[in-house]
Symmetry: C5
Subunit: 354 residues, 5 copies
């Protein structure tokens, strides 16, 4: 699970508001894209220099600046100056070890979220950070990785027919959040499948690797939970609608997102319950196997150890052993052996060990 | 347990409010029934085309439209247009992976609930979704499956004598909720019986399949809990009576339903406590069995291994072994054998292993 | 534990407010007793027909109607009509599967409680339901079983000297609740004794039946808890004193009952903690026993198996085995045997297995 | 742990407010001491008859009546009459099975607390009850046992220099509470030492008695917790300062006591966490030991059982066994034996069992 | 873990407000440093006598007095008199067994915090106490140990360019708190590394020392948690900004610290979850190992014990044993032996034990 060991400590002792990128450098180059639109107008441009975006800032059209990659600190600094973002806010954008949160700064709202995706190569869940700054007529989104999570939204905006072009910046911010939350369901379904697969493996043939799988799943759920619980709070604060930047018509949409986050939390808690139940099953099946092994050993040993004793008796070399002389001696011993063996078997059958 | 693996992810990336049916198609054809009544009048009709219902909408009589089956998206769309339901509300009706909730939309209240029933064929609990839209003079209910849960209510309305015909749409919605909640008790009783049965099996003869039964029960309780906890919230919000659509005379009825949901939650929590105790019992009884097996092995081995050694000694072929020549040698060995065996037995008796 | 498997489901589908007795029929005949008193006057009568009580209703004297046995539905119906009790309230009286609760109906307060008693025959805790309707000048109590829990209160009322006769209906209701709560302490003390007894058994000689006893205790505590937690809420609501039916002078008495319920809850939680600790002790002592058994087996087997090998060597029939010819061969073998045995014993002593 | 099995049930059925002493009689005679002081004046007297105290009641000086021993019910009754204490309050003083609590009776505040001390003879924690009645110019303290917890306070009052003589009755009550809470730290430190001692024993040599020690500690913590949690509530209510009997200058002192109670609760919860971790350690070390025992058995048995088979083969008495005739037969067998043994040892070394 | 066994009890019975140093004496001499600055002016001096500082108190410049070492009680007393600190506040500074807290005393705010650092020599986390008194123009900090945690802040103040010199005493207090909280991340990262290291050890080769490591980690997390949870409360109270000593411009900074404390708590809870999961893994892997050991024993014993019996049979010395005379007898026995062995191996393969 990525996202768990970022070097936060390198900031210790620095003055508050010092800008340092904390996190892995996930892509080579920072990509900046600006989309400017209203119902009538649409302009989309990929820019090299962040200053090119600033001309779009004024005017009544909605401006969306999307930045993929966070390791070039100066870009954040320039945007910060242009849009008068608080130094601590800029610091938070760069620090990818943030907890999801929302902050109302009056002229803009600052939202930090985590995206979930499944890395097919590393076979693990990838958690990445998205920061969104929502102003009256602009939205700036900062994305840690090189993702395509917002491509469908861009497509919808390009399309003149949809609702999107008639709505304000708050609706744009909502669609970004909605897209992120919708991706959670995808990861949850993958987890659900892995859990079902593991449960079948548990019943069919529990192995030490099954245990490690369970443990890995448990850890992933711990980290997922850490990302999702504060998300609920974030959406709940937005939904309460205390900022004039969010119009009251948005409430029904935000309530819908809120319902989704509750559902996601529900699912994670359910998964946790199921996974911790699986551990009990695993331990029980270990005990069961041990019992079975012990029974086999006990049955075999308990039957043959006394028999070996009996034949040992007549292997002794005493000069005077009356039975040895008798012609029926050997057959009598076989008789005793068979009787003892049958007796033991009956006993074990009664005990239900066989 | 059905209801746990619906393909929610197929909506990811779509524009909010896009209508897609999420869930299994549980029946072949969608059935639409309309009942229109007041104290004097009663009309009941099964319609093929949803438009036939809309004539009943106006007028002071209570109109109940009941729709079984959700996979025909256009029906929901037409109703949505006619009754001016918000696109997100329509989306929620179609998405059978909803959490129970209540939403006040001013001119109507939207309620999502889960029904519980026991599927005798699959031997599992079936969770299905019912959505209810309550307006001033109409109730529209959407049911995922092909159930008979509302048949008794229809019968009561047909009957002119009962209280039902004198009451408003809010009372009708209440009776629908009440009928759903009453069915929960039925499922809880079945679970209670299975738990008692398992407890007896645990004491009598615990087997690996018992463990799997316990695990299955535990999972079912996890899913039940997920359905029932939000139900409490739903009824509690309705009972607070902040909507003018619900008259104050309904409060005592809704409080009654609320008491029932609390009782159901209580029972589920109690079941969870009992079932998790059963796992401890199972593990302990495994340990007990292992102990018993080990004792048998130990008693047999500990008695016969030393004896086999003794007889082994006199099986050696040394030329000079004084005891072998003595006529009493053989009998002396038997004496030693018997003494050792008795000593061991006494020791085991003292240890309470026998 | 009685009280856990009542057939609530037989009500499913019936119109709300339909009167059906849910629960066991615990006594043959319903007994109705009416006591009418004020400071100067006292009348006590056992009546056959409920109508005889109604004459006492009017007038300023306090009237207490006590009904033991709930299976005659008409009695409840008649009382309901006479005292204008809501149909759902009547339903609740008959349904002995209620959760303790309090409802303020304006002219009367409805209280549902559970009594605890210990059934010496069945060796289990009996949970029964008492419903109390408190009006301005009357108290009606409905008791599921055939108990004597209120006998001492009747005696105190008969007695002209006590405080009881000077006080109102609210004080009478309080004394009923107080008597019920006081009985809880009795059951808790019995449980406390059983727990202490079990703890001693655990240390002295843990057996599978001890485990079953622990499990039974655990289940009883689960059910007790389910009865007692809502009781706290009930008394707390009464104590808040929002109803004009309860005079402010009652507050100090109700606070006292409230303190008792908190104490009872505390004790039950403490018992739960102790009992769940006992299970750990039991499992540990099983493991300890197993360890002991294994050590005995290992010591015996580890000493004698190598020795048996040694004597086996000289039991071989090779023609050319030089040691066999030597006169000291036999004694040398004994020497080796004794050395090996002593070495093993020293090793085990060092390992602290002996 | 004393304090857990008081006969509360003997009050069941009695009229509320009936005075009965519940608890052990901890000392022979009840001792009554009265201290009357203001800044200028100081009088201290041990009285035989409670009436002697009542003359001090009037007047502006602070009067502290301290009663050690609760089994003489009449003393409480007389005080109750003199200071107009509610019958239920008197009942609570006598009932030493109370939960810590505070009650504001207008003209006086009633506080119930638990003292902790360590009984060196019985090697257990002793929990005893102190009730304090705080009026405008008087404090009455009732102590269940024969303690010296308040001696230092008396000494401080005798001393004319200290702050104590200038302060009111509320400060006196505060010092009593502070003295009681300070004693908790003493008991916590003793527990802390026992825990450390046990932890070392666990690592060095876990024995069944270690388990019993852990269990005892766990039980003591359960009972401590039951005493301390309500204490926090008591001090918190006092600190909120809603009663005119407590001057606002006291707030900072009461906040200090409140901080101490929080710290005590923190320590108890920490101890609980540590102790429950110890149980896991104990169980793991049992499993470890078992593993070690099993390995020894397995190594010995696995090496010698095949060898015994080999020598058994050549102990057979067949007439035609070619190897027996060969002069190199015996040495060849020894060669095989040594090879097998070495092979097994190599295998075990690879498995890291040796 | 230091900080867990301070002798708090030596205060029991003393008058409240008596000044006694509780804690270890961590350094030889108390060091006092005073820094006095505003935007224009900067003075820094290490003083021997605390009185030298008091001249800085008056005047509009910000005065920071930093005291390292708490064992000289008179220093605290003199400061207390000079800055009119409440006796209980002075007591709290000296008592290093405090819980983090904040107290508003009107003219000054008193803050108690814990610093975390990792002691490389003792290989354990060191918890030390810092008390901060924040007035209108002064900050006094008391530090238990001899640390360098505030060196970087002093350097930043010396530097005329930074923001620091323009800000008030509240900003100085904030930077102190921020520095302390930033150090927490450092300790958390160390813990995170140890956890990862342990997890790998668990999978590769679990040993009893691994268990002790887990247990140690668990204990450290328990103590960390005890230090960090109240910290959240402290910062939350400061952030609410009810004191005029903290200007509203500070809110955004304090909110930032608050976010950090939440993140720290999150991490600790996550670590706790992971560590408690590791214990389960450890126990399971013990069981797995035991299973493996048992299988080896069972396979070997189950194959050879019957074979030893067979050869034992033909080691008997009966005069009349027909097989012994046959020339094919010996080879037949070998045949039987090989057949039995193969049968057993097939059985074990089928059981998946091999």
């Amino acid at each position: 699970m990525s996202g768990s060991n970022k070097r936060r400590s390198k900031k210790a002792g620095l003055s508050p508001g010092t800008l340092i990128h904390i996190g892995e450098k996930k892509k080579e180059k920072v990509t900046i894209k600006v989309i400017d639109y209203d119902e009538a107008r649409f302009e989309e441009r990929e820019v090299k220099d962040i200053e090119e975006c600033f001309s779009f800032k004024s005017g009544p059209t909605i401006t969306w600046i999307n930045i993929d990659g966070l390791h070039e600190v100066e870009i954040i600094e320039k945007i910060g100056k242009q849009f008068s973002l608080h130094p601590l806010l800029q610091e938070d954008i760069l620090n990818t070890d943030q907890r999801p949160k929302v902050e109302d700064h009056g002229t803009h709202i600052f939202i930090v979220l985590k995206t979930l995706s499944y890395d097919d190569n590393k076979k693990e869940i990838r958690i990445e950070q998205v920061s969104i700054v929502l102003g009256a007529t602009f939205v700036i989104s900062f994305y840690e990785g090189e993702g395509d999570i917002f491509n469908l939204i861009q497509k919808r905006i390009r399309n003149t027919i949809g609702r999107h072009r008639k709505m304000g910046a708050d609706y744009l911010a909502y669609t970004l959040i909605d897209a992120i939350v919708d991706h959670y369901f995808f990861v949850l379904e993958l987890l659900g499948e892995r859990i079902e697969f593991l449960e079948e493996a548990l019943v069919a043939n529990p192995k030490p690797t099954t245990l490690q799988e369970i443990h890995k799943l448990k850890r992933e759920l711990i980290f997922l939970r850490k990302s999702v619980w504060p998300l609920r709070e974030v959406v709940s604060i937005l939904e309460r609608g205390e900022s004039p930047l969010i119009q009251s018509a948005m409430m029904v949409f935000l309530r819908d997102v809120y319902d989704h986050t509750i559902q996601i939390i529900d699912s994670i808690e359910t998964f946790r319950d199921i996974v911790s139940g699986m551990l009990d099953i695993y331990l029980s099946s270990l005990s069961n196997k041990m019992n079975e092994v012990m029974k086999v050993l006990t049955v075999i040993a308990t039957i043959f150890i006394p028999l070996t004793f009996i034949v040992g008796v007549y292997g002794m070399n005493f000069k005077y052993m009356p039975e040895l002389e008798k012609p029926w001696g050997y057959f009598m011993v076989w008789g005793v052996i068979i009787l003892v063996a049958l007796g033991m078997l009956t006993y074990f059958r009664k005990k239900k060990w066989l």
